[in-house]
């Protein structure tokens, strides 16, 4: 190809790639930065990505639990109108209750769910420290961490859950 043609082709390609989206679709999405996503960016992933700054211990979590969670989840997490949070009954069959201790694969799920969805009637009212504290309380009551362990963005993902390795991906080729 001649240099002139090559330049033309390159120019066309550049034009095509930069304006390809403009030419093909409505292009009505507005750019948004991760900072602007802000308050919605609440996924706490199993490897710890997304865990916010902050920390808490079981001792800090106990009074918060008593005040904001016990009404539905029962004293000490034993369960009431909402499910029990403490307890590790063996799974003997499909009717065995699934609990945090005997079933959940990841400790980060506890943090994630409390932060986005709890308390039931007033979600997103807990501070990040409070969420870490309640998480620590629940994990400690379940003997998955020690009573004095500090839960934060570094330590929480390291808590290995007893049932973590018992999952089978049902249809691997759909992933």
């Amino acid at each position: 190809m001649s240099t002139r043609n090559a330049v033309l082709v390159a120019a066309l390609l550049a034009l095509a790639s930069s304006t390809a989206v403009a030419a093909e679709g409505p292009n009505l999405g507005q750019p948004i930065t991760e900072k602007e996503v802000g308050a919605w960016d609440i996924n706490a992933m199993p490897d710890g990505t997304g865990l916010p700054p902050g920390s808490g211990t079981s001792a800090q979590g106990a009074p918060i639990y008593a005040q904001k969670c016990a009404a539905c989840h029962g004293e000490g997490g034993k369960g009431a109108s909402a499910g029990a949070l403490v307890g590790n009954p063996p799974i003997t069959g499909i009717e065995s209750p699934k609990t945090i201790a005997n079933f959940w694969g990841y400790s980060t799920t506890v943090f994630d769910f409390i932060r986005r969805a709890m308390p039931w009637i007033s979600p997103r009212t807990l501070t990040n420290d409070e969420v870490y504290a309640i998480t620590a309380y629940i994990l400690a009551e379940n003997k998955l961490i020690g009573p004095n362990d500090v839960m934060n963005a570094q330590t929480l993902p390291k808590v290995k859950m007893p049932n973590a390795d018992n999952f089978i991906i049902r249809f691997p080729d759909r992933i």
Binding site: V21, E24, G25, P26, N27, L28, G29, Q30, P31, I32, T33, E34, E36, V37, W40, I42, N43, M45, P46, D47, T49, C72, S81, A82, I91, G93, I94, E95, S96, K98, F103, W104, G105, Y106, T108, T109, D112, F113, R116, A117, W120, I121, P123, N163, N166, F167, I168, I169, R170, F171, R174, I175
Partner: protein
């Protein structure tokens, strides 16, 4: 002999206990019926009719036409059952009355739904959809913007992963088809394909999953493989022609044809492309199935090939022996249903049912089977096959793989999920229909 053979094809039972050739339903029977219409020999069964009278409704002007029509007051029993009528802090479910419906489209007001934090009242002007994470350009969309994108319409089912869970009970729970199978429905969904929006954001090749999150109070989120995003995932805005109703996710939901209901996130507000799955509460705990050996499935996703008979079914008592049309729905998350067979003798013999055209992939398919009930005991079953070569299993086959409870749970409980086995209805000599295992 040869003449009677030629004309008798449609009369021969195709399977035991009265099942007739489905071709009787496909027009050939109509030709024969025409031959007998002139000079009828008089009444065939039953007493003579009463004199006709004008009902009062024919003699007075009717009511004003309402702007949004609802069903006749005489149909007020055709509703969903609602299991959390006081909206206490737990999940709420509404189940479709399959035994009272026909065709394949579930009317919007009767489509099943499960809400994990009540039904939110979302202002469409303020609602946003943000797509971010492993994309080239994170973008936010208003509803006005989305309305201008190319729209696609597809008819397809949505089914809760836990639909039919009562059949994991070790004893057959006595309940009707709405209670047992009511967490599945089918609609025409119209919206923008997620892949269209991802063309605009661009995709970082590292992305293997996207996390879909809702704007409801629990901010329910699920992880979905990028494979599904690029296949047929839709940001759905319309259901059966009108805007999606609040119980179905107004103003928008994610629709993943053939994938378990919980993943079809309602009140969709955020899509985050990631390398790893989020392992949310719902996919870590709820939608993960304990197996008999103590292990558990996760990422089941697929609603497998399934069928059930809606009529006759428990509660719909047969008044008298005679001709009936056995009718039900079949569907598969893999694709099209290719065959449905019906048995009236508990699985000893089977005949092919007629499938209502057009047969659509990942949508309800209505099947119908003509049946002459002789008044004796019968056990009705249906079984479906899909274009992937999958066959609906028997209940016994599922239980052998997945286990069952040791005592019967509440009909509202979910001992496990993804039950797609054969359902059996026993008809007794009084015409009453009960749920049995056969």
């Amino acid at each position: 002999m040869s003449i009677s053979k030629r004309h008798n094809d449609s009369l021969q039972p195709v399977a035991g206990n009265g099942l007739l050739d489905r071709r009787a339903l496909l027009g050939r029977g109509v030709v024969f019926a025409g031959a007998v219409s002139a000079g009828s020999a008089g009444s065939m069964i039953g007493a003579a009719a009463e004199p006709l009278v004008d009902g009062p409704w024919s003699n007075e002007v009717g009511a004003v036409i309402p702007p949004y029509q609802v069903a006749s007051r005489f149909e007020k029993h055709v509703v969903r059952t609602v299991d959390n009528p006081d909206n206490v802090p737990r999940n709420s479910r509404a189940r479709t009355p399959h035994h009272l419906l026909q065709g394949i489209i579930t009317p919007n007001g009767l489509h099943f739904t499960i809400c994990h934090g009540g039904v939110p009242d979302i202002d469409p002007e303020k609602h946003r959809l943000v797509i971010h994470g492993l994309v080239k350009r994170p973008l936010v969309f208003t509803l006005d913007a989305l309305a201008r994108y190319p729209m696609v319409s597809r008819i397809g089912f949505v089914e809760c992963g836990g639909n039919s869970a009562p059949l994991f009970s070790n004893e057959p729970i006595q309940a009707n088809v709405q209670a047992l199978h009511g967490l599945a429905s089918c609609s025409e969904w119209t919206g923008v394909l997620l892949s269209t929006l991802l063309e605009e954001t661009g995709i970082d090749p590292k992305a293997k999953w996207f996390i879909a999150e809702g704007a409801d109070s629990p901010r329910l989120h699920r992880s979905v493989p990028m494979k599904k995003a690029m296949d047929d995932a839709m940001v759905a805005l319309y259901q059966n022609g009108e805007r999606i109703q609040p119980g179905q996710g107004y103003p928008m939901r994610l629709w993943l044809p053939g994938y378990e209901g919980n993943m079809n996130v309602k009140y969709l507000r955020r899509i985050t492309l990631t390398e790893q799955p989020a392992m949310s509460y719902y996919e870590s705990r709820t939608y993960s199935q304990v197996l008999p050996d103590g292990k558990a499935y996760r990422f089941y996703f697929l609603q497998e090939v399934k069928s059930f008979i809606a009529n006759p079914s428990p509660g719909l008592t047969l008044k008298e022996p005679g001709y009936y049309e056995i009718s039900g729905v079949a569907y598969s998350g893999t694709g099209r249903v290719t065959r449905v067979m019906v048995s009236a003798d508990g699985g000893k013999s089977w005949g092919d049912a007629a499938l209502q055209e057009p047969v659509l992939p990942r949508a309800f398919t209505r099947f119908r089977m003509p049946w002459r009930w002789n008044g004796g005991p019968a056990v009705l079953q249906s079984r479906a096959w899909d274009e992937g070569g999958n066959m609906q299993p028997t209940r016994a086959e599922i239980i052998a793989h997945r286990g069952q409870t040791s005592k019967p749970p509440s009909v509202l409980a979910f001992p496990s999920q993804h039950f797609n086995g054969i359902t059996s209805w026993a008809v007794d000599t009084k015409g009453e229909v009960k749920h049995v295992y056969a």
